[in-house]
């Protein structure tokens, strides 16, 4: 088994799973019907994409593991998602802020992954781009609507961006598996996406009359399996059925 490729795929895919689960929590709890449906639709896209990644990872593992095992039966430290996506749905401004900060990255990333020498990854990327550009449009739109809305919506949106800002830098943190895959022309050199990312983010935030946080302190750890306290709770929800009724099928 190609351990590095396997890890690389998980590092990409786990972001989808965890963010998809977070958005799924809003099913029936969104602030209104339209945003409720939007968040769960985005969740569905992310989970659809993650199935393709995990099916591929299972094939590489080649030891009988299935996509479901990979999604449901790992321990917390074996999840390699960035800290940003596991942050809770504190209020709608946080949900949208988290989505926006991830969508901008996600789209830049998929544009590069599309050029990967690995044909399965490039096919998944080409498929996902179409969906993710729609996500980005939705979240950018809401950033502007809330930021440039009422005094209250502006202060809530500002608070969410201020709080989530410390998780942005980790998006560009490269692990050892990442570096090895970049060398092979399979992985994306994410360090090169950083300036395009902050330019695009700033452009939308400016339009939304949201101040760009000045804080230079950034959190990291998720990509190495060291998570914030929120992931454990999320996983206990996500894994509940498989842990309680092992091998249960839908």
């Amino acid at each position: 088994m190609n351990e590095n490729l396997y890890k690389y795929i998980l590092g990409v895919a786990d972001n989808n799973l965890i963010l998809g689960q977070r958005l799924g929590e809003l099913c029936g709890h969104g602030p209104n019907l339209e945003t409720d449906i939007a968040c769960t639709n985005i969740s569905l896209d992310l989970l659809g994409q993650v199935r393709s990644y995990y099916q591929y990872a299972a094939k590489i593992a080649g030891d009988g593991r299935t996509e479901d095992d990979i999604a449901m039966l790992r321990r917390e430290r074996d999840y390699l998602n960035v800290l940003l996506v596991e942050q809770p749905n504190t209020d709608f401004a946080y949900t949208i802020g988290r989505q926006f900060l991830f969508d901008i990255y996600h789209l830049l990333f998929l544009n590069e992954l599309q050029k990967s020498k690995d044909l399965t990854l490039s096919a998944i990327a080409a498929k996902s781009i179409k969906e993710v550009s729609y996500h980005q449009r939705f979240s950018s739109d809401w950033i502007k609507r809330l930021g440039d809305g009422t005094a209250e919506s502006n202060s809530k949106m500002q608070a969410a961006i201020d709080s989530l800002w410390s998780y942005t830098d980790e998006l560009f943190h490269q692990t050892q598996a990442d570096e090895l895959m970049v060398e092979k022309g399979i992985g994306v050199d994410i360090t090169k996406l950083k300036s395009a990312y902050f330019n695009k983010v700033s452009e939308v935030l400016n339009e939304a009359t949201i101040n760009i946080p000045e804080s230079k302190w950034f959190q990291k750890g998720g990509k190495e399996g060291i998570h914030s306290e929120h992931l454990g709770f999320l996983l206990s929800d996500l894994q509940y059925m498989q842990r309680t009724y092992p091998n249960m099928e839908w």
């Binding site: 896209d45 994409q49 080409a126 498929k127 729609y134």
Partner: protein, 166 residues
């Protein structure tokens, strides 16, 4: 741009045309363009289908429905899900677009027009009830991943719009 041709053995076409999209029953999977190839080899049919959206929950049902329809016609079959080339709304046939309109789902516009309509910049989507173009976007996401929700300002009816995917 559609980069690969569909390869579907002639005798299978009428069988596959009977299988419909479970979410849009008026539309056959052939009109939808999700069947990319169907080839008979040693009395077994190998069918390749491509998802409209990655998370489309209809794909499993479509796969099972194809197997059943082919079984009734006397064929054993195997379904393979392929991602490349990625499905686009250009793969919906002309007949399929008409069926959508009739069913109450406005068919996808061209990419630029679609963007303008979904950003609310221009009124381009035609109401499926009265044909008026005096329509507004209600929600970018609709009842399924592939649709957005619109409302007609003339006849006041809400209706779905099939989003352009390219």
């Amino acid at each position: 741009m559609v980069t690969t041709e569909q390869h579907i053995d002639k005798e299978l076409i009428p069988i596959l045309e009977q299988v419909s999209d479970p979410e849009i029953p008026v539309l056959s999977i052939m009109e939808m363009g999700v069947v990319r190839s169907a080839i008979i080899k040693n009395k077994k049919v190998h069918v390749q289908i491509t998802p409209t959206y990655s998370g489309c929950p209809a794909m499993d049902v479509i796969g099972d429905d194809i197997i059943n329809a082919l079984k009734e016609a006397g064929y054993e079959s195997k379904i393979e899900l392929i991602l490349s080339p990625a499905w686009t709304t250009d793969m919906i046939t002309k007949k399929g677009r008409e069926a959508l309109q009739k069913y109450g789902i406005a068919p996808p516009l061209e990419a630029e027009a679609d963007k303008a309509a979904l950003l609310g910049n221009e009124k381009l989507v035609k109401c499926t009830n009265c044909g008026s173009q005096n329509t507004n976007l209600v929600s970018q996401f609709g009842s399924t991943a592939c649709k957005a929700l619109f409302k007609c300002e003339d006849c006041q009816e809400p209706f779905d719009y099939f989003k352009c995917l390219k």
